[in-house]
Symmetry: C2
Amino acid sequence: MFSINENFLKLPGSYLFSEIAARVSAYRKAYPDKEIIRLGIGDVTQPLAPEIIKELHAAVDEMGNSKTFRGYAPDLGYAFLRGAIADQDYRQRGCDISAEEIFISDGAKCDSGNIQEIFGTDNIIAVCDPVYPVYVDTNVMAGRTGDYDPESGTFSGVIYMPCTKENGFVPEFPDRDPDIIYLCVPNNPTGTTLTIDQIQKWVDYANEIGAVIIYDAAYEAYITEDDVPHTIYQCRGARNCAIELRSFSKNAGFTGLRLGFTVVPKDIKAGETSLHSLWARRHGTKYNGAPYIVQRAGLACYTPEGRTQIREQVAYYMRNAGIIKEGLKGAGYEVFGGVNAPYIWLKTPGKMNSWEFFDYLLHKANIVGTPGSGFGPSGEGYFRLTAFGTFENTCKAMDRIRTLG
Amino acid sequence: MFSINENFLKLPGSYLFSEIAARVSAYRKAYPDKEIIRLGIGDVTQPLAPEIIKELHAAVDEMGNSKTFRGYAPDLGYAFLRGAIADQDYRQRGCDISAEEIFISDGAKCDSGNIQEIFGTDNIIAVCDPVYPVYVDTNVMAGRTGDYDPESGTFSGVIYMPCTKENGFVPEFPDRDPDIIYLCVPNNPTGTTLTIDQIQKWVDYANEIGAVIIYDAAYEAYITEDDVPHTIYQCRGARNCAIELRSFSKNAGFTGLRLGFTVVPKDIKAGETSLHSLWARRHGTKYNGAPYIVQRAGLACYTPEGRTQIREQVAYYMRNAGIIKEGLKGAGYEVFGGVNAPYIWLKTPGKMNSWEFFDYLLHKANIVGTPGSGFGPSGEGYFRLTAFGTFENTCKAMDRIRTLG
């Protein structure tokens, strides 16, 4: 008789965004005439840039011609894309990362969920709190976290590092040593960031205790301040301890196109075995490569025209971030983030908890945001708004919030 | 100090197709003038059909327009595609499968590798021998197989069901009861198949012992004989025990486009928990949906024009299969498969083992095939050729084999 993976049953309730979708759907059913503005899920709204569209059409035409048709892609990604990434994202920033250390995938969500597979189940993970739910949930499914305590909203075997306004959203070294440390910089959900000096301390710490840092840099394109590194490999010693996750979703609008990559330097080793070889084996065995046409679209992001166009999109969203930040401040809210990231993190007013504020905003202003508590216990009393809406909707949402009183 | 997933180290050598690629690459380097014909990896060579290309262009245009742009896809797939599949692949064949039971993914390789995650690590798997390596390797990585014995080429905890010419490539019920049974029908690598009566026995057996059948039907489009079912749900009771994997790679040439789906009926349960809910949770947590443009391309396969065009491609490859089969027979080989599948399975001549025949064919005829032993110990002494080459190359390859003497 077959048995199921019991670890799945430890996951509390449904995935955050499914719950949001359910509540919005119920509201829409009850009030079909209300115009809802979605500033919840981190999904982009601007169409793909013209250079990307042009490249997609060209690649599609190739797929329709026997002379240029492409079947299975190389498991780890096409050389043209791995090379462009290594060159422009790393070498031009003075980072020693080779094309062979770049693994192309269908997105950072998959990679951030799958990367734990190459580690033993006895590893202790440390996460910031609040945190992108995928890091914890995928470790739960793998049996690496112990049981869930509904009271505290935490798993017994996970190290949570609170990031709140009290510590300026800077995680502190935990009391006991973790084996795997997840860091998201700039941060989802808080929209805050760490400086290069702060990250260097984490790299030194990881090398000292023999931990690996899973560094999620999905929001790198939104960095505006000079002391924030664009990659963890700008820190000394990161090649020995850090895996970096990157995405095309937020910098180029690929949420519906699916493309990302993971950097695994060959220097991270356990005895004779490199994590690079394990991740390559995982890719080769469980994955069949990102679509050729999508990898070509990715390449368009590295051409001069493409770069300019996607930077304009990022600027568009960051204008929204400024509008939200100032709008909320003007309405009397305490706000964080929005300077190096497309997320604004606000303190819920009075004694409202995160889900109460979700319902309040949905019902009173018809705005969908994301409850901070959905990202972990230290997110309780906070709320996330994203800058990924249209300019018009963002302005309209702030008008509504202003007039809420 | 972090530790690695030690199960990865149990995997013997490199993945079959990587080893083939390495040998071919070495040969090309030594003999750059030789024209190599590849009938090894199951990759298609025909360009995407015109209707698919048309649909891709239309969908790409939508992605470039703010009115029609699509961000994150629904985790489980777009309703338009799930509906078309449920309707045309299942209901029209009299099978009770709903759109909600269809999970869209980026391909059957990923699904066949990931599906084991929803089961406990104590489950015993049974596989045909020879077998598509991904089933076993991904269970090895999950720690479900025990250790590898290089002598026998098997894992201690896996049940192998030999499929050889002696038993007509029909697996027999094993001595001890498995929990998860992998069946690939029509079969990769042998190119043989099971009839509906034979599969019905497996469904009855699985229901009797409480096992789950993972039914890989990636080659369904190649079925030509009436007594071979196009889906396991044509068997009574399959809704209670069978998960079906399907692919767009071989019927429509999507190897480089990436699209597949898995059917998990809601009736398969362990106590209160349905496998459907676990697989949905896995999708929601670890996956972000197949690209919109690729799902639209998938939809094109279900239009009248699209269906006609992809059937012509299948017919093209099956003509190749006939040529290979007759060519090999004419040259004195003992051959199997090639009637309901695009694979021809041949007995290696004399005392040659599979890899010796690989080198022989590569060096003497410059033809790349796949050694049967790469698919499991019972594949030793066999060799796989695929019908996915071009017509011209297939004919040329057979000419070369004929003149080898």
